[in-house]
C-alpha cells in the first residue's frame, strides 16, 4: 500500500473535479431538496415570465401595427427591472440559507480535498440550473399568457424575433441566477475545513 512508501511525501497540487461530476452533484443537490429548489426557481420563473410577457406584448402590438407610446415602454422597463431584482434577491437569500444548512457538508468536502473553487463551482452550477429551468418555464408561461388570447395575430407575428426574445429571457434568467449565487458561493468556499469537525450547528 501507498502508506508503506518511505521517504518524504511529494506534494503535488493536482486536484480535480470534472465538469460532468460537478453537474451530477449539483443536479442531485437540486432534486434532493426539490421543494426548496422549486420555490427558488419560482422566483426566477415569475420574474422572467413578466419579462417575456412584456416582450410578447411588444411583438403583438407590432403585429397589430399599434404604435407603443414611449412612456409605456419606459414604465414596462422599470417594472421588468424591479421584478428581476426581486428574483435576484430571492435567489441570493435562498442560496445563503442553503450554505448555512450545508455548512458541515461543505467542510467535509474540503476535508476530502475539495478546493475553494469546487465549492463555488457546485453552488453556481446549482443556481445556474435552477435559473435555466426556471426562466425557460417562465418565458414559456409569459409568452403563452400574452399570445394565447391573441391567436388572430399569430399569422403576422415576427416569430424569429419571438424565438430571440425567448432565448434572451433564458440567458438573462440563468445569468442573473448565477450572479445572485456568487456571494453565497464564495462565502461557502471560504469556510475553514476544521468546521466540519464541529458537532453543534
Amino acid at each position: 500500500m501507498a502508506t508503506m512508501s518511505a521517504g518524504p511525501a511529494k506534494i503535488d497540487r493536482q486536484i480535480s473535479l470534472p465538469m460532468s461530476q460537478a453537474m451530477r452533484i449539483a443536479l442531485r443537490n437540486i432534486t434532493i431538496r426539490l421543494g426548496r429548489a422549486l420555490i427558488t426557481g419560482a422566483g426566477t420563473m415569475l420574474g422572467i415570465a413578466f419579462l417575456m410577457s412584456v416582450f410578447a406584448n411588444t411583438l403583438a402590438q407590432q403585429a397589430a401595427n399599434i404604435e407603443i407610446p414611449a412612456q409605456q415602454a419606459t414604465k414596462n422597463l422599470w417594472l421588468v427591472i424591479m421584478s428581476l431584482l426581486v428574483a435576484v434577491v430571492g435567489i441570493t437569500n435562498s442560496m445563503l440559507m442553503s450554505v448555512t444548512e450545508r455548512y458541515k457538508e461543505i467542510g467535509t468536502m474540503k476535508c476530502l480535498g475539495a478546493l475553494d473553487n469546487f465549492i463555488v463551482k457546485l453552488f453556481l452550477l446549482e443556481s445556474g440550473f435552477l435559473g435555466f429551468f426556471g426562466s425557460l418555464i417562465g418565458a414559456i408561461i409569459g409568452a403563452v399568457f400574452v399570445l394565447l388570447p391573441k391567436f388572430g395575430l399569430w399569422g403576422s407575428l415576427d416569430w424569429g424575433r419571438f424565438l430571440l426574445y425567448l432565448l434572451g429571457c433564458v440567458v438573462i434568467g440563468s445569468f442573473l441566477s448565477i450572479i445572485a449565487a456568487l456571494g453565497p458561493a464564495i462565502r461557502a468556499s471560504r469556510m475553514p475545513p476544521a468546521d466540519a469537525m464541529r458537532t453543534e450547528v
Partner: protein, 321 residues
C-alpha cells in the same frame, strides 16, 4: 534535516524498552530519555522547541547497544515519523483578548502508530488535533506531515495533502446526504482524478473491507449510525492515506457499535499500516492504542504507551463480530 531525522529514527527503532517511565511534562531530561524508548514522544512544554530537539537527538544516539524489544515487531511500520510537531502554539483572539489554545506542544508520531489524544473540552485537544491533521496552522512552531512543513504549503498543496495523505473520520459521520454509500466513497477519488472504473472497483473493495458491501447503494439516511461510520471509515481510506484522523469516532454510537468501530479501525491499522490518530473520550479506544496522549490547558500532560496504562474494561476481548 530530513536525513538527519531518518538516521535518528533508525537508531531509536533499535532501542530497547528499558526506560519505561512516564514522561513528565516538566522534566526535559526525562522526556528526552523517554524519546529514545517509548517511541518518539518529546514532551517538554516547559522548555522551548530548540531544547527539546537537542534532548531528542542526544538521546537518540546514546543507547547504541540495541536489543530489539517486543515493541519493535509491533512497530513494524514505525520506521519513521509521519507527524512531527515542534513547539506549536496557537493563540486565538476572542473579544480582543488573546486565548492560548496551545502553549507549546511537541509531539512526534510514527508511521503506523495508533494514537489516542485525550483531554477535556477546552484543553486544546481539538486544536492540536486540527494542527496534526493539516486543518489549521499554528501561530508559532512547525508541523511536519510526512516531512513536509505545513506552513510552506499553499491552498492547492494543502487540498492535495488532505485529499491524498490524510483521511478524516468525524463524530457525526459527515457523509454527504445526497449521495449513496458508494458515491460517498468515490468522491475523494474523483478529486484525486481516478478513473470511473478505478473508483467503482476500489469503492466496492473498501465497502467489503469495512463489512457493508451489501449496502453500497443506500443513502446515509437509510443506514444505521454504525453503518454510516463504516462508510465514513471506508471513505477516509479512499486514496490510501498515510494518516487517518478520527475525531470522537465512537461519540455518537452505542457501546457495542462503538466497540465494533474501534475493532475495525485497529484491524485496518494493523492490516494496511495506516497511522490512526483519534481524539476520544472512549476508554475502549485506549485499549487498542499504541500510545495515549493526555492534553490539558494547552499542554501535553503526559504520553503513555498502552502497556503503561491500567485500563479495566468489562470486556477487553469483545469479539462482537
Amino acid at each position: 534535516m530530513a536525513r538527519e531525522n531518518d538516521a535518528m529514527t533508525g537508531s531509536k527503532d533499535g532501542t530497547p524498552n528499558a526506560a519505561e517511565g512516564a514522561m513528565q511534562a516538566t522534566a526535559p531530561v526525562a522526556a528526552g530519555d523517554a524519546t529514545g524508548t517509548a517511541g518518539t514522544a518529546i514532551v517538554n512544554p516547559a522548555t522551548n522547541g530548540g531544547a527539546s530537539t537537542n534532548g531528542g537527538a542526544a538521546n537518540g544516539s546514546s543507547p547504541a547497544t540495541a536489543v530489539s524489544g517486543a515493541r519493535a515487531a509491533d512497530n513494524y511500520y514505525g520506521q519513521e515519523y509521519i507527524v512531527r510537531a515542534k513547539n506549536i502554539k496557537k493563540t486565538f483572539e476572542v473579544g480582543g483578548q488573546p486565548v492560548h489554545a496551545l502553549r507549546g506542544v511537541d509531539i512526534d508520531i510514527r508511521r503506523g502508530e495508533y494514537i489516542s489524544i485525550m483531554g477535556p473540552s477546552g484543553s486544546g485537544k481539538s486544536t492540536l488535533f486540527n494542527m496534526i491533521g493539516g486543518l489549521d496552522k499554528p501561530t508559532e512552531g512547525t508541523v511536519f506531515i510526512d516531512e513536509v512543513d505545513m506552513a510552506q504549503l499553499d491552498a492547492f498543496e494543502l487540498a492535495w495533502l488532505r485529499c491524498r495523505k490524510i483521511g478524516y473520520i468525524f463524530q457525526t459521520f459527515n457523509l454527504i446526504p445526497v449521495m449513496t454509500a458508494l458515491e460517498n466513497i468515490t468522491l475523494p477519488m474523483i478529486f484525486a482524478g481516478a478513473s470511473t472504473d478505478e473508483q467503482l472497483e476500489k469503492g466496492r473493495k473498501l465497502l467489503e473491507q469495512v463489512g457493508i458491501g451489501h449496502r453500497m447503494h443506500n443513502k446515509p439516511s437509510q443506514l444505521s449510525g454504525g453503518q454510516q461510520q463504516r462508510v465514513a471509515i471506508a471513505r477516509s481510506l479512499a486514496n490510501d492515506p498515510a494518516i487517518v484522523l478520527a475525531d470522537e469516532p465512537t461519540g455518537n454510537l452505542d457501546q457495542k457499535t462503538g466497540k465494533e468501530i474501534i475493532d475495525l479501525l485497529k484491524k485496518l491499522n494493523k492490516e494496511s499500516g495506516v497511522t490512526i490518530i483519534t481524539a476520544t473520550h472512549d476508554d475502549k479506544m485506549l485499549d487498542v492504542s499504541d500510545r495515549i496522549v493526555w492534553v490539558s490547558d494547552g499542554r501535553i500532560d503526559k504520553i503513555k504507551r498502552r502497556d503503561e496504562v491500567d485500563i479495566t474494561l468489562g470486556t477487553l476481548e469483545g469479539g462482537v463480530h
